[in-house]
Subunit: 332 residues, 2 copies
DNA sequence: GCCCGGGATGGTGACGATCACATGATGGTG
DNA sequence: CACCATCATGTGATCGTCACCATCCCGGGC
């Protein structure tokens, strides 16, 4: 084809002005029924498709939202992205993604700028944004929702109650009779990870238990394995709360290598409830995170902000749910 | 801010015409050094950013590539997407994603149309496209590369040699002394899955072994578990080639539940080498797929097509590599 | 001294759509 | 029957950029 047909082509075929075509396509009320039908037919006949670029240029709206994610293949990231995709599509929006190789403010800012160059209407940051960062500076006041962030801050955040999540996991283990619970945490650059850690600590303190030192991982199963090797060598460790299922797989593997059985010798609770969690050995007790749902809600909220910048975020707190499987057992 | 600054704003500040600003920004040669500097300063001062939409409108290039993926959280999909993202960014391109809830031709066509509305310059289809489908009809002759497709077809495809992959896995098991190898395949709608199955069958036939009936899964661990329950009940099954690691987790779990040990009683080979594969119980022997690399190559090829539609695809065949871990052992 | 080539710049008109406003027809009302 | 509200449609300007062509100026060759 030499050139895609434009509105004036359609207008010519239908014998009306381009403006009328525009009205028909935008479902404007004030168009005669006969004209409308004629235009529809002409559109069909010419195979016309509205040019979104031209449209975006003049309206200032691209109907695209930008998503910044960390450049990893973690389950959580892809699940959130999936929720975002689905919700955006349902609302007739497009999704443009920018990954950032690092979590430094610079790298995130670069990703954001790339998306702004794209002309996105709103932004979902699926990366941790520290509380001391002014979101306005970062995003130049584009409607933005952060998926990993402190709910206490002024920024718009969609998140489950991570403190509660840490607490639920820990309480479950304490309830099984364990004296205390060890913790393999996520990187302290992530707000979600820190939230889980505080919940864990709070639960232990509330129960008057000893708070063991925190071990840190980087979300990868390999880092779980490293930490599992340490924990497995300490006979007093009977219960571990791991801040992600992927790390939990590593921990369990390391324990197995050291001859410590799960759950007979050590109980392990993960976090996320990834698709493979039920198929771990043993099936992993974990705290479910509604990733898709978070993505969906992030989109809904961004779109609300896009439509009306004055929208106030009502943080609906989603309570995480413990999914009990076989990696936890009463203290032997 | 009331309105982002435009080229004419910058031009006014620099005391030149908008055209000159455009030339400076496009690194056109014919601009005086002094003028160039002045314009650069003005750009800096006004915080000007070129409007990509307007640019795309007039040039007909959006510097965006569209990706169609299946709406799932499978590791493979997110890893490929990751490779695409990285490569696109490196080339200064943007990525817009559209997920399709089903693999029907209609659903895929809808996703493609959404992306075309977006004005993408090229397309990567990370979904299976049947050989009898005219890619041209689907994509209206937009530069397109398919990631899951038959290499034999006329379409532009980036893929590893799946037949070889199936063969490698099967040969490995036969080499360990197993009489034959059972197979849990992926859905027969996927070309990759079918390739693996043919490789498996060919390896068995070449070795003059009995070819057992194929069991089919849907890539999910749950489907692996279902099939594992069947296989585990048959004492004659000593070796299984599973078409994805995620299903392999399910198979292994089912075998464990039935009291069959891996690898002592049954050897299992997976496919993909997902991040969790080394942390399965036991660590999974599998065939590595270079997902990120495939994504990267898909982008490179699409961009070549965008630049020069006459580009001919040289299918560099990537040979898959067996990664031996502990889920396979010589026949006991 | 004249002419020519080419580097540096500016002006104009698309690109494809929408918006604000203008126009003409219609019909109901006092 | 004059008047105005309402609906249906057209006109012109505009969004921000780049392609194309015109213009100006300078230096060099003959």
């Amino acid at each position: 084809m030499s050139r895609a047909s434009s509105m004036s082509d359609v207008a010519r075929v239908a014998g009306v002005s381009a403006q009328t075509v525009s009205r028909v396509l935008s479902d404007h009320p004030n168009v005669g029924a006969a004209t409308r039908a004629r235009v529809r037919a002409a559109v069909e006949q010419t195979g016309y498709r509205r040019n979104r670029l031209a449209r975006a240029l003049v309206t200032g709206r691209s109907r695209t939202i930008g998503v910044v994610t960390h450049e990893t293949d973690f389950y959580s990231a892809s699940a959130i992205l999936l929720g975002i995709q689905t919700a955006a599509r349902a609302s007739g929006y497009f999704v443009s993604t920018a990954t950032t190789p690092s979590l430094s403010l610079d790298a995130i800012a670069t990703a954001v700028e790339r998306l702004m160059d794209q002309g996105v209407d709103g932004l979902v940051l699926a990366v941790p944004v520290r509380e001391d960062v002014s979101l306005g500076d970062l995003t130049h006041d584009l409607p933005t929702v952060v998926v990993d962030g402190m709910r206490s801050s002024a920024t718009e955040v969609v998140a489950v109650d991570q403190v509660e999540a840490g607490r639920v996991a820990t309480d479950h283990l304490l309830g099984l009779g364990h004296d205390t619970v060890w913790h393999v945490a996520g990187p302290d650059t992530w707000n979600d990870a820190m939230g889980r850690t505080s919940g864990w600590r709070a639960a232990l303190e509330d129960a008057g238990r000893l708070v063991p030192p925190v071990l840190y991982g980087d979300w990868t199963p390999a880092s779980g394995h490293r930490n599992g090797t340490i924990l497995g060598r300490m006979p007093e460790v009977t219960a571990v709360f791991v801040a992600s299922d992927e790390m939990a797989f590593g921990v369990i593997r390391a324990l197995a290598e050291l001859g410590r059985r799960v759950p007979e010798d050590v109980s392990v609770v993960g976090m996320d409830d990834i698709a493979l969690a039920p198929y771990a050995a043993p099936p992993l007790t974990t705290v479910r995170q509604p990733f898709r749902d978070m993505g969906r809600r992030a989109v809904e909220h961004v779109l609300a902000l896009v439509t009306d910048p004055e929208t106030v975020h009502e943080p609906e707190v989603v309570l995480p749910r413990l999914v009990e499987r076989s990696s936890t057992a009463p203290r032997g």
